[in-house]
Symmetry: C2
Subunit: 562 residues, 2 copies
């Protein structure tokens, strides 16, 4: 795993080169910012030929370490205008790593009106015309490509939303069942892929083997420690039973659930019970769905699921809390079947469910949508796929809806919609939303320390952001909760790369990577003024706790001190 594949769609060329030794310890998210710093003009247009689409497995993806196969996708975001890494499960990262790729970078544009697919395997790398594939939804596309390349292949793709250049567009990755339900969803990276005419990357796993590293015996030893720390099924029972949907009621209880266009932190009890974890589990069990579903080979956590519709047929999978929060409670839709249908549509069109929930919440301030209108919500998401003017406005995300309709209550930071953990109640998360180079993102620094107090949150958020960077750079799922196991991770990196890494080097490298992302953002035009939460969060008390976000600007600036 020591090569970078550089694809140029304008020229139709591919170049595979050994990774610069300086980048040997970078992976996933940290590698993305390193490549961006070296190869990308920060003021380039995110949808132009100069931007890079980067696919990078985590540093330890491809080893036998369970739950380490997150695929990082970058780089310049059409949503935030800054640097972006979003990651997804599925087997893509493991396959890429086992092919020997630390990263695949794609620049240039396919010839006007034509699309391309990139096919990669142990001994193959081909750029092919995307004949008959352009315009397809992710589901039909995956079916077609898996029919051709075999059910074991993994497909990384964009849907119509990406082809249209919508800032809410995701990059989809197929799950172990060959369905495009794992998404590097945030920041519009699907548009970076789709606007350049790259419809899909096909990964053929034939002949691939787990990485054994520079020191196979040492890696085996490190792995044993890793597996022990990760824990067995009993440690992950909550996730295996309810998935992230189990969080819904907990979140509502702590005023963290965005409800009715971010106007409440808790949902009325009688509505909440229609969308909480118990109801979720009940419906899955009654209809023959699956809980405890692993999104990638060898996952220990198994938070995923397969959700059947009322007719008992497959409806969606990887149906998560964030989707239930943003497309459910936040739109006052207390019906899991409607939310699941919205999830399915978003996966198919290739859209971030968080961004779409934010966008529709803003739209509820106009005559085009009323909170609680199930039929209309489905109709509007379908419109995005059709590319009508209104559909495109929504597909561009919450900030664009607010812009177009002249609305000053904009639930976004750096242009990216607020996720499903309210920062007015959970103030450490509010600090992360404000200061993360990623924009408002719960996965970029999740902390619940002293949630309702403004005190000390810069420190809590900084620590959480460092942990998140460790996870995102190594390919670790956040739910593995390994980000702070610096000793084990250092042992594993040392054995894998052959470079001695001390425990303290792990967070130090993560901090350096965060600062690199900040530098990119500054150069791209995102300065201190972008490290602020929207005004309404400082003014409108959030029922029922009735708190506002009252962490000072000075405290926010203390997170990075730059």
């Amino acid at each position: 795993m020591n090569h970078i594949l550089r694809v140029d769609l304008s020229r139709g060329t591919m170049e595979k080169t050994p990774t610069d030794p300086d980048l040997a310890l970078a992976g996933g998210r940290s590698l993305i910012s390193a490549l961006a710093e070296a190869e990308l003009d920060p003021v380039c247009h995110p949808l132009g030929s100069d931007n890079l689409l980067i696919l990078a497995p985590g540093l330890i993806s491809g080893t036998a370490a369970p739950t380490s196969g997150r695929l990082s996708v970058g780089v310049k975001s059409p949503l935030t205008g800054g640097i972006k890494e979003a990651n997804a499960g599925g087997n893509a990262a493991q396959y890429l790593a086992r092919m020997g790729y630390k990263a695949v970078t794609v620049r240039g544009l396919a010839p006007e009106g034509e699309g391309r697919i990139l096919v990669l395997g142990r001994d193959r790398s081909e750029l092919e015309p995307a004949e008959g594939l352009m315009g397809l939804g992710n589901y039909a596309l995956a079916e077609k490509l898996l029919g051709r390349f075999g059910p074991q292949a993994c497909i990384i793709s964009c849907g119509p939303a990406g082809e249209m250049g919508l800032s809410g567009a995701s990059v989809a990755v197929t799950d172990r069942d060959g369905r495009p339900t794992r998404h590097a969803a945030r920041g519009g990276l699907g548009a970076v892929m789709g606007k350049r005419g790259l419809k899909a990357v096909v990964l053929d796993p034939a002949g691939l083997k787990p990485l054994s590293g520079a020191d196979p015996a040492g890696l085996k030893e490190a792995l044993a420690a890793y597996v022990k720390k990760l824990g067995g099924p009993e440690r992950h029972e909550f996730m295996r039973t309810w998935g992230t949907a189990g969080i819904t009621a907990i979140s509502s209880a702590r005023s963290g659930l965005p409800t009715k266009a971010y106007s409440q932190g808790s949902y009325e009890e009688e509505k909440l019970k229609n969308i909480d974890g118990d109801r979720f589990k009940e419906l899955i069990e009654a209809r023959g769905g699956i809980t405890g579903h692993a999104c990638m080979n060898g996952c220990a956590v198994r938070c995923s699921n397969v959700f059947m519709g009322p007719d008992g047929n497959y409806l969606t999978a990887g149906f998560e809390y964030e989707t239930i929060a943003l497309l459910g409670a936040n739109l006052d839709l207390d019906d899991l079947d409607t939310i699941a249908s919205l999830d399915r549509l978003c996966d198919d069109i290739g859209l971030d469910t968080i961004e779409m929930g934010g966008a529709l919440a803003v739209l509820s301030e106009t005559e085009h949508f009323d909170l609680g209108d199930r039929r209309r919500a489905l109709e509007l998401v379908r419109e995005i796929g059709q590319g009508t003017p209104l559909g495109r406005i929504i597909g561009q995300g919450a900030a664009t809806v607010a812009k177009v309709f002249g609305i000053d209550r904009v639930p976004a930071v750096k242009g990216q919609a607020l996720p499903g953990h309210n920062g007015r109640a959970l103030k450490g998360l509010g600090v992360t939303y404000a200061t993360s180079p990623m924009g408002a993102d719960h996965t970029a620094g999740f902390t619940l320390a002293t949630p309702h107090s403004p005190v000390g949150q810069a420190d809590h958020s900084r620590q959480a952001q460092i942990n998140a960077m460790i996870n995102d750079s190594l390919g670790l799922c956040n739910f593995a909760d390994m980000g702070s196991a610096h000793g084990i991770l250092a042992q594993m990196i040392t054995a894998l790369t052959g470079t001695r890494v001390r425990p303290e080097d792990v967070p130090a490298a993560a901090w350096e990577a965060l600062k690199r992302e900040r530098r990119f953002n500054r150069a791209a035009g995102l300065g201190r003024a972008s490290d602020r939460l929207p005004g309404f969060m400082k003014k409108e008390p959030l029922p029922p706790v009735n708190t506002v976000f009252d962490v000072t600007d000075e405290e926010l600036d203390r997170v990075f001190g730059d």
Copy 2:
């Protein structure tokens, strides 16, 4: 002229206070930035209750000095996200100054669903419900209000575009004929007015007299020098004969005319002759229109006009080069009647014609508009007034059209559309577009020095930006060409204010005001990365001169050196 009237629409209050002595020498644009620095949070939302709408006559507006009655409007722009001053002719500035106002500032929001009008006169200041006025176009509104307040009144208003919060919305000022044809058009200030529910400001001139200043004899003397320098009709013959439309052919000859979606600098000869100054004059004369029309009382330049339609009836007035360039050549519409109809629609709906020309040019990259389609262009501008999703997208301006449709060729700087003097050919103007705190704006620093060379343009642009600031702060029309007459201006300011001002103080104060604007923008989030022209201007050679914009980033940063 030494009071500031502070209106709070949320509270329904008005407060008239003497101006802080520190601000005695500030006026118009320079006063706007001083008030913004003192009273405005730079990160506030431009359409929220915290932003200020500021109306400020120039420092010498209201004296008997001809051509000095420009009204400056500010402040935080929904289009650029930074500081904004746009100014307009008409009699508004003279009236406000003669009432004793250095500025009127409006904050807060009128009660939900209600609008307000502000009525000002020598001895009156009233805030009234805007009953029956909300939603009206500027023409119907002006007619209604002048019917009530008398034909001598001057109306400052916003059209439906402003009420909808569109970033292309202008603030209209009635001309001497009571028509809303003078616009503080750029930067979306109409939205700052309309979204807070302020539909109009009515200025009743009864009993007003020219300002005689602290030293009436000295002012009279200064005025004589001013008038001599300004020159008589013979000096302004070009403008009196053709108006700014006379520039069209000249601009095309020097590759400065944005043509066919900014893809050419010159228009084909056979099309150019349909929209050039001679054709313009010919149509006006044949149909009983007027050239050499003064937009404000006592104007020496008289660049304005009244343009009749084919039926001989009034169609529009204040029909200018920028409109012909952006809504004509740039959309490949070589028909003055179509362009005049578009101008009329924009004036009525309350839209910046430059921004709309830029927006439609970008839209021509989609299926919604083809260059050259007259009927469709009219239909689309009407749609803006109707507030359809597509209409709103266009009404938000060129950058939003590009955003929504995923287009990376964005003819804008700091979100504001490029005006009618191509910066790839006229490189000093390109430097102004890139670096002006206003975004792409030809009036913010017009220079034609060594147009096709990149050398020395930072100095040319800086000088031109200082001159523009002098004009905009004193209330001088750019065509008066008095910005560099520092001695006369110092003499006038001294006599008017009673504070001794030296000739060198005039440009020094302008430079300070520019730096103040830059500080505001930095704090609002517009850093160095925003001081750049769009990428296509550096890559696509502009026919027929086939030049790109090749002034270096270092040279751009040298303009302000901050």
